[in-house]
């Protein structure tokens, strides 16, 4: 159990997907303008990471390894994640409209997100067991949400701050991202 917790914390903070592994940088800058949309995006990513790593673990364990085709993982994972997200979206639209409105269009955006593919590939590389995969996926998702929320909070303030004209918008966001990355590098070597 302690191993799972340390894996979870390690994925969320020490090996943070955005600031340490540089995965999912597109939503990091694209969806971090408003806190509410950042949290929705983070929740959707966490949810899809959880589902995808469970599904791909089963496929790796019972299809890829017995047939010795582990090198095909990227192709198979993309196929599985894309169709999974489609089904989940369909299910959510038809059964719970409130949930669909909360997730909005983010669910469809995640279909080809590299952070989701990254966590499944990482699970396969490290040959984690099923509980370990789930802990890693949840940790990565929570870390992703955390960084997105912090970034959007900073950017909301930056919007009204008096920054030089040439630095307005994205440039100052890039600098903020590097400072945020510096702060997160302080977690390195904690576990």
């Amino acid at each position: 159990m302690t191993e799972l917790i340390s894996l979870f914390v390690g994925m969320a903070l020490i090996n943070n997907f955005i600031l340490v592994k540089f995965l999912g940088l597109c939503p990091f800058f694209g969806v971090s303008k408003k806190l509410s949309s950042a949290v929705s995006m983070g929740a959707a990513v966490t949810f899809v990471m959880f589902i995808a790593s469970t599904a791909t673990w089963i496929i790796t364990r019972y299809i890829l390894i017995p047939f010795e085709v582990e090198f095909m993982d990227i192709v198979i994972y993309i196929l599985v994640i894309a169709s999974l997200v489609q089904i989940i979206e369909l299910f959510i639209i038809r059964t719970s409209f409130a949930l669909y409105n909360a997730f909005g269009i983010y669910l469809a955006l995640i279909t080809t997100n590299c952070a989701v593919l990254g966590i499944t590939l990482l699970n396969a590389r490290e040959s984690y067991s099923l509980p370990e995969s789930i802990a890693a996926a949840l940790g990565a998702g929570i870390g992703f949400t955390l960084v997105l929320a912090i970034m959007s909070g900073i950017r909301e303030r930056l919007e009204i701050a008096d920054s030089p004209k040439s630095m307005k918008g994205l440039p100052v966001a890039f600098i903020t991202a590097t400072l945020l990355g510096l702060a997160f590098s302080g977690f390195g070597g904690m576990i």
Binding site: F67, S83, T95, S96
Partner: protein
């Protein structure tokens, strides 16, 4: 190449598509009215551009399912471009759509003219900021200030600034009638009018305060009713409350008499360029 790879890939692909198909058929429609929304969104263009003001075509279909009549107030500009989409929408929504009446274009109710400059403005280059200071630097309080707030809002490059007159110019061809510029203008000069509008009234004004035409600008309407009297086809009605002419699209024959007789040059053909108007063949 190992045949097992091909086999596994094919099997996985077919399995996924089969599961998605099964999900599409089998998942129950528990949310009330969801079938209707799916049906409507199927008839929409499906490009998710957001020009209607909702989050994608699905969001638009959601609103349409509540009230089909709102399509005339907030029509989908993309659907109006193609007659086939309009027909599909008519069938699904069970209403009649008059596309040519719905298609809108932006019209600027100011022709710049030579409104006197009352002070030298050297602040932020924005109409909204300039309008805060005595309603702008031009003598006419309803003048276009020409800093291009509308230009920044336009996603289609349809607006440019005429440097000479210092006003915005809207390109009829490029304008899609999305209406994003309307709320940008601090003087409320831009109005969405039907695309079939023939004569544009290029002056904005509030009758209760003062008359912009007199002493403020060479081109402003002076409410002389000459255009109303000149029209032989009953296409112009006189709005007594606001003391401005109103144009009937169907009755107007584009004869150009009202434009000719206007002493102030307030009127102009709507969807023609200046060059076309000057050449007599266009009239």
């Amino acid at each position: 190449m190992n045949p097992v790879i091909i086999l596994i890939l094919t099997a996985m692909g077919m399995l996924s598509s089969a599961i998605i198909y099964l999900a599409y058929v089998k998942i129950p429609h528990k949310v009330k009215g969801i079938e209707r929304i799916e049906e409507i969104s199927g008839a929409l263009p499906g490009v998710n551009c957001g020009a209607c003001g909702f989050a994608g075509c699905f969001g638009y279909a959601q609103e349409l399912s509540k009230d089909t009549k709102m399509i005339t107030e907030k029509p989908c500009p993309v659907a109006l471009q193609s007659s086939e989409t309009i027909r599909n929408l008519e069938k699904v929504l069970d209403i009649k759509l008059d596309a040519s009446a719905l298609r809108k274009k932006a019209l600027l109710h100011c022709c710049g003219g030579n409104s006197e400059i009352i002070y030298n403005y050297s602040g932020v280059e924005s109409c909204k900021a300039a309008a805060q200071l005595w309603g702008g630097y031009k003598k006419c309080p309803y003048a276009c200030l020409g800093f291009g707030d509308c230009l920044k809002a336009c996603p289609y490059d349809a607006i440019s600034i005429d440097k000479e007159k210092n006003i915005a110019v809207i390109d009829f061809e490029k304008c899609t009638g999305c209406g994003l510029c309307v709320s940008e203008c601090p003087h409320n000069l831009i109005e969405l009018v039907p695309a079939g509008t023939k004569v544009s009234f290029r002056c904005s004004y509030e009758p209760l305060r003062d008359i912009p035409g007199r002493g403020k600008c060479q081109y402003g309407c002076i409410h002389c009713r000459k255009c109303f009297n000149a029209c032989e086809f009953d296409a112009i009605t006189w709005n007594k409350e606001e003391a401005i002419p109103e144009f009937n699209i169907e009755k107007c024959t584009l004869c150009g008499k009202c434009i000719e007789i206007c002493p102030q040059d307030t009127l102009a053909f709507f969807n023609k360029t200046d060059a076309e108007i000057k050449s007599p063949s266009a009239v």
